[in-house]
């Protein structure tokens, strides 16, 4: 597929480039024709560029865009595919319906940035279906930036199916600026010999609200999964984490790992839930909520950092 640039004003592209950079992306990749990329501002597709082995289809809707991205059978895409979803104004609604398919033996890395730099009253909803075919690999990294005002309500939901021998890695990060309200909900079905790894890292401040719900069903023999969550919350922020792993098949292995650091008046709840109905499956969990480790803080203070800077360094390390 070739580059499509649909009657777009140069200023819109410039604004999205700036927003993409604010979220930590390198805007140059969005203009490199050798790399696959997709840029959506509000309900407008600013750029959709496929490369060999990728079929990228988009359909603009009233409040967003429907996206279908297919990696054809056997294609191993050498460079990451860059996705950028954003809303530049202070308010608005963006609904993205995504359908990702990695066909049998395909491999791809998707790098997404979701950016709402001026958010005061913004809703971003993402409904995703991800299908990882037999022996395929899908790596999905999503970095969010919601600006400094706490005015974003972000609702990412995904249903993921990993076929036999497939692997799925999901990395979600929202650590700079405010969160606003986040309702993250991912549900994964893992078949025989598949691998699933989901990592979420979120830093909540002021009155941010964070809800993370992740579920993996290990349905096939020897399916393996890790759910790893790193949350830091401070001031009056609140977080709720549910990490569910179900072991339904022999030799399936799962682990849920949640580490949270709280400061100020922040409130955190972490519930790892493990269910096993096959005697040969094994699922484990660990969860810890607490303040920043005293020895770590004092070590950095003994090297000359002020207490606040020491705490900040430790939290940033945890969320890196």
């Amino acid at each position: 597929m070739s580059q499509i640039t649909l009657n777009t004003l140069p200023s819109e592209i410039k604004d999205m480039d700036a927003a993409y950079s604010a979220a930590g992306g390198d805007a140059a990749v969005l203009h490199d024709h050798e790399l696959a990329s997709l840029v959506i501002s509000g309900s407008k597709v600013l750029n959709a560029n496929g490369v060999e082995g990728i079929v990228l289809e988009t359909q603009e809707t009233e409040h967003g865009v429907d996206v279908k991205l297919t990696i054809k059978k056997g294609y191993k895409i050498p460079h990451p595919v860059h996705l950028c979803f954003g809303l530049i104004p202070q308010d608005g609604l963006q609904e993205i319906m995504m359908n990702f398919v990695a066909e049998e033996d395909a491999a791809v890395e998707l790098v997404a940035h979701c950016t709402f730099p001026n958010a005061i009253k913004i809703i971003h909803r993402m409904e995703a279906q991800m299908h990882v075919g037999k022996n395929a690999s899908l790596k999905y990294t999503e970095t969010h930036f919601h600006g400094p005002y706490g005015g974003a309500q972000v609702i990412p939901r995904a249903k993921v199916k990993i076929e036999e021998g497939g692997s799925y890695y999901n990395n979600f990060s929202l650590v700079s600026g405010r969160v606003g309200s986040l309702e993250f909900d991912y549900d994964v079905d893992a078949e025989k010999d598949s691998v699933c790894e989901m990592v979420t890292k979120v830093y909540g401040k002021k009155d941010d609200k964070i809800r993370i719900m992740e579920k993996v069903s290990l349905n096939g023999e020897n399916a393996r999964s890790v759910i790893k969550s790193r949350l830091a919350i401070t001031e009056n922020a609140e977080s709720e984490f549910r990490g569910i792993t179900e072991g339904h098949a022999p030799r399936s292995r799962g682990h849920v790992d949640c580490l949270e650091v709280i400061q100020g008046n922040a409130k955190a709840e972490a519930v790892p839930i493990i269910r096993v109905d096959n005697p040969l499956a094994k699922v484990t969990h660990e969860a810890a909520i607490g303040c920043v480790d005293k020895k770590e803080v004092e070590t950095l203070m003994a090297r000359g950092l002020e207490e606040d800077d020491a705490i900040d360094t430790i939290v940033k390390g945890m969320l890196a």
């Binding site: 580490l259 480790d293 005293k294 020895k295 770590e296 004092e298 070590t299 950095l300 203070m301 003994a302 090297r303 000359g304 950092l305 002020e306 207490e307 360094t313 430790i314 940033k316 390390g317 945890m318 969320l319 890196a320």
Partner: protein
């Protein structure tokens, strides 16, 4: 002889138990001073009190550093004056890169160059290319973390380095490197207060003090103090009659 640190009648209790019972200690300028003594004598407690850690605020006594009373100063303030501490069991820092950790101590005086970072790792016998971009977390062994902590003190260039058993968890082969490292601190103009159970380290010191049940029993020539500790203190004399400070 001028003293960089002078501790007078330091008393400290924790959870109602008196642990330091009147410590008197003087560390000279550019002096390597080792503290030896049995397990539970109060050596680490003394180190923590000198650094000003939370929960180690002294009940009585004075701490004079470089001619200035530091009793009321915070950890950070003490560090900025040039005091630092390497823990007996170093902390783990998930996600913090070795290079960033090593750079922290040098923040105050204009940062650190890539070459200085590498040199600090070489001094503790770690290959820079292998370690600079690793995390100071669980993936490192206890011995590796101890070396990295010592490296973080090299880049800080302190006036007084308090090292709590830098040899523990480090293989015997590397003991010589630790001794060299302590000597490098001295050559760079620092004083070193080193807590140790190893006679090799005591032997490389300018002076040693013997700690027993919360007091410094005697200070003097390192070999003499080591001998005294070996022959007279185990089993500790003080269990029969309370020790008198020398």
């Amino acid at each position: 002889m001028s003293y960089i640190l002078s501790v007078k009648n330091l008393v400290l209790s924790r959870d109602g138990k008196k642990i330091l019972r009147g410590v008197n200690l003087e560390v000279g300028d550019r002096e390597i001073h080792s503290i030896i003594g049995a397990n539970g004598a109060g050596k680490s407690t003394l180190a923590y009190t000198l650094m000003g850690l939370q929960g180690y605020e002294q009940d009585e006594g004075s701490l004079i550093f470089n001619g200035e009373d530091i009793t009321k100063l915070s950890i950070t303030e003490r560090a900025k004056k040039g005091i630092t501490l390497a823990w007996q069991e170093p902390a783990r820092f998930e996600g913090l890169k070795v290079r960033d950790y090593l750079a922290i101590g040098a923040k105050g005086d204009g940062g650190v160059t890539e070459e200085e970072l590498k040199e600090a790792l070489r001094k503790v016998d770690l290959k820079p290319e292998k370690y600079l971009d690793r995390e100071v977390g669980e993936a490192l062994s206890g011995g590796e973390r101890k070396r990295i902590e010592l490296a973080s003190i090299i880049t800080m260039k302190p006036k007084l380095a308090i090292l709590d058993e830098p040899d523990s968890g480090i293989d015997v082969v590397s003991l010589k490197e630790i001794v060299n490292l302590i000597q490098t601190f001295k050559e760079n103009g620092a004083s070193v207060l080193v807590i140790t159970h190893r006679k090799e380290i005591a032997a490389a010191s300018d002076k040693a003090s013997l700690m027993c049940e919360g007091v410094i029993l005697r200070s003097g020539d390192p070999l003499e103090i080591s001998e005294f500790f070996k022959n007279r203190c185990i089993p500790c004399d003080s269990r029969v009659s309370p020790p008198k400070a020398a």
